[in-house]
Amino acid sequence: MTNLLQTPEATQNWYLLLSTVLFSIGVIGVLFRRNALIILMCVELMLNAVNLLLVSISAYSGNVDGQVFVFFIMVVAAAEVAVGLALMVSIYRSIGSIDINVLNKLKW
């Protein structure tokens, strides 16, 4: 039992599982929350799940590419959040809410 857990592959699978769960939580959050801010955070959660996965794989495979990529992701995520928050502020200013259900002027 313990042996199994300690083999690199098995441990990696745990990481995979964890990040998948985290990612799914993020997806479910995006799906079911209506507040744009929370959705944004859920997206961040998804990104972090990916980060976790990349780092773990990188560590287990001895390939640093993954870790480098994580940095890229963090940078990009920051930029994304910056733009996103700006848009959110703009929305809030004009309609006084950031509930995504309100945002349905554009349809059909």
Partner: protein
């Protein structure tokens, strides 16, 4: 590769010009700069090379598509000068962002590494979120930008998860290694397949293929018209270039799984785009759905990747781009003069301004794929190639769909010639006219002499 650097430098320069109070020269400089870069870009023709430790690969494919991207941006910038006459304070922002988007698009056209692809996509997307929402006091624009942002970042997350899963199997982001991983393993691990499919989904989102197309109509409608023009041309083309590159270089011309996915998605996209477009009365939304349907056709090209279709993709993209740009070069001044973006804004244009009406007519005919415009040859080329790859039924479906397509393109024409005009006069500034003539002429020339483009990427 140099092209990419020059473009970025140009972006910075335009930003600097604002600081140096040279606002008036921003657009001319950007256009000239892009033209120069377009020339420099050609230097790489037939000189394949790799850069940044094989992160980027310059090939004829990337050169051709980069050239197209530069051309589109140039056209958009020519129109931007006119479009933003009332918003001069921010002109440098728009120009700079547009140029950076082009840089992102070029990355998407020349990546050899998933990291590079991700960066390209994000450079392009994040900038676009901002542009889509750039009419700050227009709730529709805000809504468009925000929707785009929400869904776009969600899709990015999916993409990243897919990349991570692929990385977990291959232990590399490099396309050639992914490709050899596929050819070495007869049965692919589920993790890898899931990763590939997730990447595929994200890319399909970017090219607005059904059922991941939902953002496109809303965003196209809400975004400023010029940005819509930009999105419907360059962004879509960049997305397809990336998808094509990914499938051909990275996925060994398509694994059974991706083929299956693309097949289903192509059918859905064709139907969604054409059927939904039928009842539209907003021109931009119409163009969005038309764009979706064109995405469907272009997916056929990706599907037939085995038959060496890069020249087909390039021809189709170019034809689609010039027709779209020509259409918008007429639509923009009409929107501005009438203050409406509905199809009814075009009522009686045939009487009010026959030249513009003729231009838009030709653009629509080109989009509908009727000779002698490039759109027709593009479609023929596409059908031929898809047929060659054995996609019999889906080609038939595409043929049927292009009949449906004719109807909504002709709705615009019928509005222009069949309806009575209202009082408003249409101002048509020189730059729009120029763009219209150039694009229509190119559409016609490429239609009559397709070898100009088709022979490039053989």
């Amino acid at each position: 590769m140099n092209t990419l650097i020059y473009t970025s430098v140009l972006g910075f320069t335009t930003m600097l010009m604002e600081v140096l109070n040279l606002r008036k020269f921003i657009v001319p400089l950007a256009v000239i700069g892009l033209a120069v870069i377009f020339g420099l870009n050609l230097q790489d023709w037939n000189q394949p090379s790799t850069h940044f430790n094989d992160m980027l690969g310059v090939s004829n494919f990337s050169v051709a598509f980069s050239g197209l991207a530069l051309f589109i941006t140039m056209i958009i910038l020519v129109m931007a000068g006119e479009y933003y006459t009332n918003d001069e304070n921010h002109i440098s922002d728009y120009v700079t962002i547009l140029i950076f988007i082009t840089a992102g698009a070029m990355m998407m056209m020349s990546f050899n590494n998933l990291v590079m692809m991700f960066l390209g996509i994000e450079t392009l997307s994040i900038a676009l979120y901002a542009l889509a929402g750039s009419k700050r006091f227009d709730t529709r624009s805000n809504e468009a930008g925000f929707k785009y942002f929400l869904m776009g970042s969600f899709a990015s997350a999916i993409l990243l998860f897919g990349i991570a899963l692929v990385y977990g199997s291959v232990h590399s982001f490099h396309l050639s290694l992914i490709s050899s991983f596929i050819s070495e393993n007869s049965t692919l691990p589920p993790m890898f397949i899931t990763g590939v499919i997730l990447i595929g989904f994200a890319m399909l989102f970017k090219v607005s293929a059904a059922p991941f197309h939902f953002w496109a109509p809303d965003v196209y409608e809400g975004a400023p018209a010029l940005i819509t023009a930009f999105m419907s041309t360059l962004v879509k083309i960049a997305g397809f270039a990336a998808l094509y590159r990914l499938v051909t270089i990275g996925f060994n011309n398509g694994t059974p799984q991706t083929d299956q996915m693309l097949y289903v998605v192509a059918i859905l996209t064709l139907l969604t785009g054409n059927l939904s477009a039928l009842a539209q009365d907003n021109f931009k939304r119409l163009m969005a759905y038309s764009g979706i349907s064109h995405a469907g056709y272009m997916l056929l090209i990706v599907l037939s990747a085995k038959s060496h279709v890069s020249s087909t993709l390039f021809y189709y993209s170019a034809a689609y781009a010039v027709a779209g740009l020509a259409a918008f070069s007429v639509a923009l001044p009409v929107f501005k003069s009438t203050g409406s973006e509905l199809l009814s804004a075009f009522n009686g244009l045939g009487k009010k301004n026959p030249v513009m009406a003729a231009g838009l007519t030709m653009a629509m005919i080109g989009m509908a794929g009727i000779p002698p415009f490039a759109g027709f040859f593009g479609k023929f080329y596409l059908f031929t190639k898809a047929f060659e790859s054995g996609l019999f039924y889906i080609v038939l479906l595409a043929v049927i769909n292009s009949m449906i397509g004719v109807y909504y393109y002709f709705k615009v024409i019928m509005a222009m010639y069949g309806k009575q005009p209202d009082e408003t006069q249409i101002e048509n500034p020189l730059s729009y006219q120029l763009v219209m003539w150039v694009c229509t002429a190119l559409s016609l020339i490429w239609g009559i002499v397709p070898s100009l483009l088709t022979d490039l990427l053989l």
